[in-house]
């Protein structure tokens, strides 16, 4: 079942929030000009929208029953299967590998933890080690932020205190975007890493007869705000659930309006102070959900199943380009790949 996803995304119109309109628009323009990121004032949309004004949400309700990725992959091997094992979404948590184990063992105080660590979270900047908790849908996280060899001139464990397993850190900080089917009421997940449900939501098995029954199917051409809600549910790293006060959405089901429950500062000032990687996401989100532009979404540039961003070269120039490029698409800003988020600590 697409559930209420389809209904919600189409049932409500976008209403304008008059109080915000003038001031917010001026702010957007001012900051963008200051940053040199706005291609031309003429491209500015006519008004400012209320991002919360459409659709519905599942905050505080039970996570819907859904089929799991393994079931999906039984049939979807033609296009999805070959690349899926290497896909970043599939490995937001990955099994601990010999390299990570070896690194952990280089520290006398950390070596004992290598015996029980099962998973690693993070790739280039830092690693966090995890093990299954005794409780359903919970992982314990090792207190130490480990810097992979070569990432820092200092010891990988330079900023570590006495290592210990933290029972709540993953559940409170990471679960929403590193696992699937997170129930915010008890902070549990139903599958490690991201599965098909994370983006496609509730899927009717009957879709074999008509793919339009699956959210984000090419045939559907889902509205930009729906796409941005799905991607933004994890890639906006500055939000907080109004209802659950967690740094990830409260039971976001693809098709929902993310912004009904997920409070995000969409002001230009907030966009401006982000790292380039985070900035380009939020800029795009603002374009869609605040300015009502619908021509560019994450999917315009990123092939998710194949983990490719090659399509982004074919897009028309826009302010988003200048998050990473230095006024010329052939030049990258020195810090273009920098990503850091106070929320994630990554």
């Amino acid at each position: 079942m697409v559930g209420c996803a389809q209904k919600c995304s189409t049932a409500s119109g976008v209403r304008r929030r008059a109080g915000l309109q003038s001031g917010f628009a001026l702010g957007v323009a001012a900051v963008c000009f200051a940053l040199g990121t706005l291609p031309s004032p003429a491209a500015d949309p006519p008004g400012v929208l209320d991002p919360t004004a459409w659709g519905c949400d599942h905050a505080g309700t039970a996570v819907p029953e859904s089929i799991t990725g393994d079931e999906c992959l039984f049939c979807h091997r033609v296009k999805i299967g070959p690349g899926w094992p290497q896909n970043r979404h599939q490995s937001t948590i990955r099994n601990i590998d010999p390299e990570a184990l070896a690194l952990l063992k280089t520290s006398k105080s950390h070596a004992p933890f290598a015996e029980v660590a099962e998973y690693v979270l993070g790739r280039t900047n830092q690693w966090r080690f995890l093990k299954r908790s005794g409780a359903y849908g919970r992982l314990d996280m090792l207190s130490t932020r480990v810097h992979p060899t070569g990432q820092k001139a200092v010891s990988p464990f330079a900023d570590a205190g006495a290592p210990h397993w933290e029972p709540d850190t993953f559940a409170n900080q990471c679960a929403g975007c590193h696992s699937t089917g997170v129930d915010s009421r008890n902070k549990t997940f139903s599958a490690i890493s991201l599965g098909c449900f994370s983006c496609h939501g509730e899927v009717d098995l009957d879709h074999t007869k008509d793919t339009i029954k699956v959210l984000l199917a090419q045939k559907r051409n889902d509205p930009a705000r729906v796409v941005m809600s799905i991607c933004g549910s994890c890639h906006i790293r500055t939000g907080r659930s109004r209802s659950a006060a967690l740094p990830f959405p409260n039971n976001f089901v693809p098709g929902d309006n993310l912004f009904r429950d997920f409070a995000v500062d969409l002001s230009d000032a907030a966009v401006a102070k982000l790292s380039p990687v985070d900035r380009h996401v939020l800029q795009n989100v603002c374009d869609v959900v605040v300015r009502g532009k619908g021509e560019l979404t994450c999917l315009s540039c990123h092939s998710v199943h194949r983990s490719s961003s090659s399509r982004h070269r074919r897009q028309p120039r826009s302010a988003i380009c200048w998050s990473c490029h230095d006024g010329d698409v052939d030049k990258l800003l020195p810090n273009w790949s920098q990503a850091n988020s106070a929320t994630c600590g990554y």
Binding site: I67, E71, F74, V78, W84, P85, Y119, Y136, D206, T208
Partner: protein, 502 residues
């Protein structure tokens, strides 16, 4: 990009009785055809052209005949060496092959067969199938099943089958607490209720026992999240249902999948989670556990649970149970990139990753009699990759487990009609050199008879002798005769996936 094998063949004008490249069962990633396979495919076409001309047949009809099949093996010998028992006369005289390998000489019991529920494969069978007496409507599931019957029973010598499960879990009740039935129970691509329904339908039609079926229920399918353990009442309720109502003949487990959203897979030797399942199953009188092992590279986080390392303790602790290890636990398909990585296959020892672990279990426990090696996809795939690898697989299985503990399976419908795999095994032999070097034994007809079906018959309590007497008289045999009399032919169609060629 992947495309169906049949589509690739149609695009290229290839019509071969044997797939000349490994076809993915969707459990592994297909790799491109190599030079030897290209050569083999070309030779089949060339020889078939010459021979069909000599016989005054169309090339298409020739390739669907036993002579066409013999030609394919003959061509393989020309490319790889004399591995297959085939003589030139068999490529020109149907009677020669028939005399050498009489039809019906083996009781062929395929324990790994699949069809899908509602997943169109892009293939439609000939109109005569509609006259076979099955319920035909526009339901893709029914359609797929009909095709399945044709491929398995009309186009091959298969005598009996086990309809084998795929990952999926049934829902007991709706939100109002009403017990759900049939389709409303869901359960994925090939749920237990559907396997059971089709088994009954097929046996009713045949007027005898032609099909058995498995049940998908597994220890992690119903989960008590508060206690973080199986929801045993719900689990046992489903087990009861599958045994008593559906009449399943074995469980089919995929330890590395989690359709019940338990948050994890499971191990065969987990005393808290899996052993209660065994206990309940024994109470129900169901003692056969068919377990998918190997072929799991797409599952990053749970794939390790397809390793056979958990078989040993489970089997030792439950000598009264039977564990059939599907795919002989081969870790990688022979065409996956990893297959060529160092250590995956060692020609100096004949070891394959994970399969070698399965062998060690028996070596450590020579008296263990309740673990069986099933060869579905493994035999056919390795035979296409290189006959010598195939010899190691079968040689090691028999040398280690004994010929009584190797079980026939094909993984069809994915491979099209299983006849080519059957023919391959009939003609299969291990070379003197490998026998001498690795201590393998030559396969006798008796050995092949055991592997083809007698071993599985023992496990499932099937009287093979009685069945062989009954089959010729049943409706399915009569329908098959009518099909052949009306000019019905085997389709050289493989349903798995291959890489598209640029």
């Amino acid at each position: 990009m992947w495309i169906p094998k049949w589509q690739r063949d149609r695009n290229k004008g290839v019509d071969s009785p044997i797939p000349t490249q490994v076809v993915s069962t969707e459990e592994f990633i297909p790799r491109p055809q190599n030079e030897k396979q290209k050569q083999w495919e070309h030779l089949i076409g060339e020889l078939a052209g010459e021979k069909s001309k000599l016989l005054g047949m169309t090339k298409r009809d020739f390739l669907r005949s036993s002579m066409g099949m013999a030609t394919a093996f003959f061509a393989s010998n020309m490319v790889y060496g004399p591995y297959w028992n085939v003589e030139a006369a068999e490529t020109l005289e149907g009677a020669a092959a028939a005399e050498k390998f009489p039809k019906g000489e083996y009781f062929i019991f395929d324990v790994q067969t699949h069809f899908t529920d509602g997943v169109p494969l892009g293939f439609r069978s000939a109109p005569f199938v509609k006259d076979m007496g099955f319920k035909l409507d526009e339901n893709p599931a029914a359609y797929s099943f009909n095709n399945f019957v044709k491929e398995l029973f009309f186009d091959s010598e298969t005598s009996m089958i086990v309809i084998s499960g795929v990952p999926g879990r049934e829902k007991h009740k709706d939100n109002e607490g009403t017990v759900l039935e049939a389709k409303a129970r869901g359960g994925g691509v090939l749920p237990s209720w559907l396997m059971s329904m089709r088994k009954k339908e097929l046996n009713d039609l045949a007027g005898g026992k032609r099909a058995l079926c498995q049940g998908n229920c597994a220890p992690n399918h119903y989960w008590d999240r508060a206690r973080n353990q199986p929801d045993f009442p719900a689990l046992f309720e489903q087990m009861d249902r599958e045994k008593k109502l559906y009449g399943i003949d074995s469980w089919k487990w995929y330890c590395h999948t989690d359709p019940g959203r338990s948050g994890n897979g499971f191990r065969l030797d987990d005393e808290k989670m899996t052993y209660p399942f065994y206990k309940k199953s024994i109470e129900l009188g169901l003692k056969t556990f068919s377990v998918h092992k190997g072929f799991s590279s797409q599952s990053e986080t749970l794939g390790h649970l397809a390793h056979p390392g958990d078989v040993e303790k489970a089997a030792k602790d439950h000598p009264e149970l039977t564990f059939i290890i599907y795919h002989s636990a081969l870790k990688h398909g022979s065409w996956e990139p990893q297959f060529k990585e160092s250590g995956n296959y060692d020609p100096t020892t004949g070891d394959f990753l994970w399969h070698a672990e399965l062998m060690k279990i028996k070596e450590r426990n020579p008296h263990m009699k309740n673990v069986y090696c099933e060869i579905g996809s493994a035999f056919g795939m390795l035979f296409i990759a290189h006959p010598e690898m195939c010899m190691h697989l079968i040689g090691r299985n028999i040398k280690t487990y004994g010929v009584d503990q190797v079980i026939w399976g094909t993984d069809c419908l994915w491979w099209g009609s299983p006849q080519w795999v059957i023919d391959a095994f009939k003609r299969f032999q291990i070379t003197d050199k490998l026998c001498e070097q690795f201590g393998y034994g030559k396969l006798t007809k008796e050995d092949k008879a055991k592997i083809f079906g007698l071993n599985a018959a023992k496990i499932y309590g099937v009287d093979a002798t009685a069945q062989l007497k009954a089959f010729p008289k049943d409706t399915l045999s009569r329908l098959k005769s009518a099909f052949l009399d009306r000019g019905g032919q085997r389709d050289n169609t493989a349903y798995g996936w291959v890489r598209a060629e640029v």
